[in-house]
Amino acid sequence: MTAALHLSAITHRHPGADQPTLADIDLEVPEGQMVAVLGPSGSGKTTLLRVAAGLEQPESGDVLLDGTSVLGVPPEGRDLTVMFQKPHLFPHLSVLDNVAFADRLRGRSRPASRAAAQRYLDLVQLGDLGRRRPRQLSGGQEQRVALARALAASRRVMLLDEPFSALDTNLRTSMHELLGEVRAALDPTIVIVTHDLDEAGLAERVGVLVEGRIEQFDAIHTLYAAPKTLAVARLVGGFNEVPGTVESGVHYSSLGALVLPAAADVNGTAILLVRKERLGLVDAEATATVTGRVVEVRQSGPHQDVVVELDRAPADRRARVEVEVRLGTTLRPGDRTGVQIPGPGGLWAVDHPGVEDASQISHATSEPAIFDSTTRGRG
């Protein structure tokens, strides 16, 4: 099946820059699906959308809509539209005429385009505000109008450039719900770029963009369970990184010999990845896999993170793991505890070919063994 939008081997370099902003990007968006491009600030997300929209020209590569190259076609001639981070409502037009803008450009009469616009305004639950001017709207309302305007343009593909990032948590949640309703009603093809994992989770598939390259293109749950690279794991956040070596599907490290899932196809020097919520704390004298001493208890949203320094590590190379527990833990720094390691289903490993000696990695990463999703994942 031909993809509605296909970015093929796109390389882009800003004028005067040594490194390309985008390097050999391939991305396919099937019709009716939503694809998210997840990346930290400066990873090239917005540039990718601008190249797709025709607002920037790539150094090489092609942009195909329904299999046809649109590289030489100006933005207005491409069958796609963009909703930017700022709503960019036209200040001289009423809300209704903003939404009717694309129809008016297509030559539809004012009454007909306004009638169509009213339906889209109703869809975003702002049917009563058509006569207002953009400056009379709140931030959330402006974004809803911008969404209605993008939908009313009736383009083949909608590109959303971090459209809800400036909204507060509640408004963002309500916009996510609205996007779900719109998708159920109209089945549009959407590409959304975001640094927000929750937002990326709205999409069927997520492309992780790191330093101008797509490192992984998978469903969000796969990113959480089986990141392809350390960069993806760090962007997703919440993983303990334990350096070691893999031989015949077994990872050897300060946590011991742990059998990896068959899908983790790694060998040699590798980083074991264990999500902090998959580890458990048990009594130190019980049948714990490893034991250690609590060095820190941190508040992390509706949970607490307990940092445990492991006994097994050599004295000069401290190894720590972070374990997510429910609120109300009685553990305090200095307490001894056991750490329960999950079975193969809760483990993952990625190659780390840059470092040959596993013990060096252990030493280097013993302090920041965990990369918290609230900081790493929202760069």
């Binding site: 960019h88 803008f101 694309a102 305007r149």
Partner: protein, 271 residues
């Protein structure tokens, strides 16, 4: 804290009213004798107010060709506005949206006509224009357009500074060509600045005396030329004042209409 704020604002309000009243007086007082003279048929030097009211000044102004002079001034203003406004929009867009790599030199060049005295420029140009054989009317319009350019450019520069260039990109991804994006989005969004720039360019042409006199060689009789000649030669205060009032009224009426329309637009937006 609350009481301090309340008493502070209470004191500010009357002070603001007094300042506004003084500003109004500052504008109205110079016009008062003109208006009185325009309605007087006799007003001797010692009297505080005109002794006799009448339309002598108006009759004499009509006989002196006031209507034709006003029409000529209007045409001159329109011609200057038609040239200087589009140029000012282009220059203001480039400066306001920082489209130029080195904006300093163009800014100085565009501002230069304000620094130069029209009289001195016109004195040098009139001979050149005569030798080249450019018609006086065309030369006057071109030179005045150059003098109007700083006003239109810097008004539009300020307007574009307040407009996000991304509006045009947004219009384009909704299906507008480059030209449509400018015509349907940027220019309408810049209406207030555009009207102000047009008004200023019009006034440069409407109120000019030196350039019209020197480059036009006295052949183009506009309202300021008629006022200047009445004030300098006739000693007829009623005629001079009537001409001055009649030359002031059209721009004042236009300003009032524009202000009213703008306030109506603002009110409608909030209704």
């Amino acid at each position: 804290m609350r009481r301090l704020t309340a008493s502070g604002s209470g004191r500010t309000r009357p002070r603001r009213s007094v300042i506004l009243a003084l500003l109004a007086l500052w504008l109205v007082i110079p016009l008062t004798p003109l208006v009185l003279w325009a309605g007087a048929s006799r007003w001797s030097g010692t009297a505080r107010l005109p002794q006799d009211l009448g339309s002598r000044g108006w009759q004499e102004a009509l006989d002196a060709g006031m209507i034709a002079a006003l029409v000529r001034s209007g045409l001159l203003g329109v011609a200057v506005a038609l040239i200087a406004t589009p140029l000012g929009v282009m220059a203001g867009r480039a400066l306001g949206w920082r489209l130029l790599r080195r904006p300093a030199l163009p800014s100085v060049v565009l501002l230069a006509p304000v620094v130069l005295a029209p009289f001195s420029v016109a004195m040098g140009l009139d001979i050149v224009i005569l030798r080249v054989g450019i018609p006086g009317e065309v030369a006057v319009v071109v030179v005045l357009s150059v003098f109007a350019l700083p006003y239109t450019t810097f008004t539009m520069r300020a307007t574009y500074l307040g407009l996000d260039p991304a509006l045009e990109e947004q219009a384009r991804v909704l299906g507008a060509s480059t030209r449509q994006a400018r015509r349907r989005v940027t220019l309408p969004a810049a209406t207030t600045g555009l009207v102000t720039a047009t008004g200023l360019a019009f006034l440069v042409g409407w109120s000019d005396y030196a350039v019209t006199l020197l480059i036009g060689g006295g052949q183009i009789v506009t309202a300021p030329m008629l006022i200047g000649s009445a004030a300098a030669g006739s000693g007829n205060d009623a005629l001079t004042s009537t001409l001055a009032v009649s030359a002031s009224l059209p721009p004042l009426v236009a300003l009032a209409v524009f202000t009213y329309a703008a306030s109506r637009r603002r009110t409608a937006a909030y209704s």
